[in-house]
């Protein structure tokens, strides 16, 4: 789960990581109040959850009140990659002497937490990673949750040339690690991590991403989710244990398992159709899930056919069949159903559906071909 910069900044402040004075504003008046408190110059930053806001004109340093109001209004009216700007961060502009990069994340292949640090920060960090990978240092935690300072000291010395900065950077990193582990982050990034006019290190930006699988143990974080960036249908699907992504086509898909659901989506495309969605009903599907999946898909008025592709493993085909039969009794399904069922309890499932007069397929290609044909008639 992604959160806004201002929310990440608040977390940084909570953990004692230095950030510039500032606050969030929704109106020019609020912005003026904040700026009068922090003093000019201030930076205005659009709060959007998509990359490239700087290039889109969503970040601006201003030196006086008149400029603040006009730039605030300009940025507030921007549309950044399809998203309007609702909130703006107003913060004291930092007199940046030098930029670094600092992040804590997870190396999936090593299965370890890794600190990434570079003496060259800023928006070009990804470019640096490609052109000068030697300028980026990776420090593995080796299963530890706190910094092994003896092992870390040479890295700090390589990045920062004076002892005071080494000590200060290490202290900030310890706090960033504490935040990372306590809040189950998958990324905690300071870019740029800067030296200000007084010669002190601070965070000039803040980015935090949380592990979706760990949100159950952090109810306080769930409240930070910005619903504007969530598709209502996708959220509802998640609440009902379904994994759903809306696409542009007209072949509704209900599949069990993410891999097969992707494979089905690919097959529909390759055989000349257009999938309307990706929908994984998950493992051990109870009949209720199938009913919910059908209801969700039928909200899309473009749908011409629904393809149900189930390969039973932990999912039992008869559970799916019962779900389909329940749905047929409870809701009106105005489009043809193309049903493919194979695997665990397949015989029981086919008997149930055949009794109800429904056709079932055993081959995926055959079922996808039928569904694509129906979507064009």
């Amino acid at each position: 789960m992604k959160i806004h910069e201002y929310q990440a900044r608040n977390l940084f402040a909570e953990y004692g990581i230095p950030v510039a004075d500032g606050d969030i504003a929704q109106t020019p008046d609020e912005a003026l109040l904040i700026a009068r408190k922090t003093g000019f110059p201030v930076v205005i930053k659009a709060q959007v959850l998509v990359g490239g806001r700087g290039k889109a004109g969503g970040v601006k340093v201003v030196g006086n009140e008149a400029e603040l109001v006009s730039e605030f209004n300009r940025i507030k009216n921007l549309n950044i990659k399809g998203y309007s700007v609702e909130r703006l961060l107003i913060a004291r502009a930092i007199d940046i002497k030098k930029e670094y990069y600092l992040a804590v994340t997870i190396d999936n292949i090593k299965g370890d937490v890794v600190i990434i640090i570079s003496a060259e920060g800023g928006v070009e960090i990804e470019e640096t990673a490609k052109t000068h990978p030697d300028k980026i240092i990776k420090f593995y935690m080796q299963g530890q949750k706190t910094l092994d300072e003896a092992r870390w000291a040479p890295v700090a010395a390589q990045i920062f040339n004076d002892a005071r900065l080494q000590k200060s950077a290490t202290a900030i990193l310890q706090k960033l690690l504490k935040l990372f582990f306590e809040k189950d982050c998958s990324l905690a990034e300071i870019n740029p991590f800067v030296i200000n006019g007084e010669g002190n290190l601070m965070a000039a930006d803040a980015k935090v991403i949380f592990d979706d699988n760990a949100l159950d143990r952090h109810p306080e974080l769930v409240a930070l989710r910005d619903m504007k960036y969530e598709d209502a249908d996708e959220l509802e699907a998640r609440a009902k244990g379904l994994s759903f992504v809306k696409l542009e086509g007209n072949v509704g898909c209900i599949v069990n398992g993410a891999g097969l659901a992707m494979g089905t989506m690919d097959a529909v495309n390759l055989l000349g159709g257009k999938p309307a969605n990706f929908l994984d009903v998950g493992g051990s599907s109870n009949p209720e899930k199938v009913l919910n999946a059908l209801k969700l898909i039928l909200r899309n008025k473009d749908i011409k056919v629904i393809l149900i592709n189930i390969f039973g493993g932990i999912t039992r085909c008869d559970d799916i069949a019962n779900g389909i039969l329940t749905a047929l009794k409870q809701i009106n399904i105005p489009v043809p159903l193309v049903i493919r069922l194979t695997g665990t309890n397949e015989k029981e499932a086919k008997a149930l559906l055949t009794q109800a007069g429904l056709t079932t397929y055993t081959s995926m290609r055959q079922a996808v071909t039928e569904a694509v044909k129906a979507s064009k008639s």
Partner: protein, 289 residues
Amino acid sequence: MSILIDQNTKVIVQGITGRDGSFHAKQMLDYGTKVVGGVTPGKGGQEVNGIPVFNSVKDAKDKTGCNAAVIYVPAKFAKEAILEDITNGIPLIICITEGIPVLDMVEVKTALNKSQCRLIGPNCPGLISPGKAKIGIMPGHIHKAGDIGVISRSGTLTYEVVFNLTAHDMGQSTCVGLGGDPIIGTRFVDVLKMFQDDPGTRGIVMVGEIGGGDEQLAADYIKKHVTKPVVSFIAGRTAPAGKRMGHAGAIISSGDSTAEAKMQMLRDAGVTVVDFPDEIPQALAARLK
């Protein structure tokens, strides 16, 4: 021959008293797997489908001499279940559970690195050596004993592939479902090495998907070390960029982890890459000639 499990593997089921655990313990038993015990804390002394239940992995190991464990417990208890197996030196651990927090898996991985244990999964269907044993949730009846090794990051997509192999009379030595999570215990390269070394495996099928860097590492490994024919299918080539398609690992993060990039790297390594799962048997037959 087969890899990792055979008719002599003795397995215990953690979470045997739950809905999925009890159902699949019975399915495994019916398939012929030596299911020697189950573990549910507080329910020791009971029986499930005639299988004795123990309070702890230690009890179960002492009484049954098990050498494998399969985990069906809910996500919030999964870390402790895996760590309990590692502490007790269970050589092969299969974790079916999905939705385990990533930092829990970092702890597990750290413990695994200090042990001799092998973990398959989590968020995986398990593995099967057809005709000998199955540990996991795959439907046994679609498999057939033979000499094709199957490795996959997916569950149901693997069944699709196996179903097609069996329909063309191409039996399997062992089918291993690695799991769809970002951090998993066993990766493509580990199993590729085992299949390459297994005299009972003649050809290999590798089923991958978008996201992550495992297929790229596999391509590199195949180029250098695998002499047996490999056929591959990669799911998600028509997935919209940046959209999460269920598997935590299957998210397009950079140019290199797209399906097209992976397919190209595999082709460059001498792998036959197909468009549909049902094209695998024919492609494999051509390579095995």
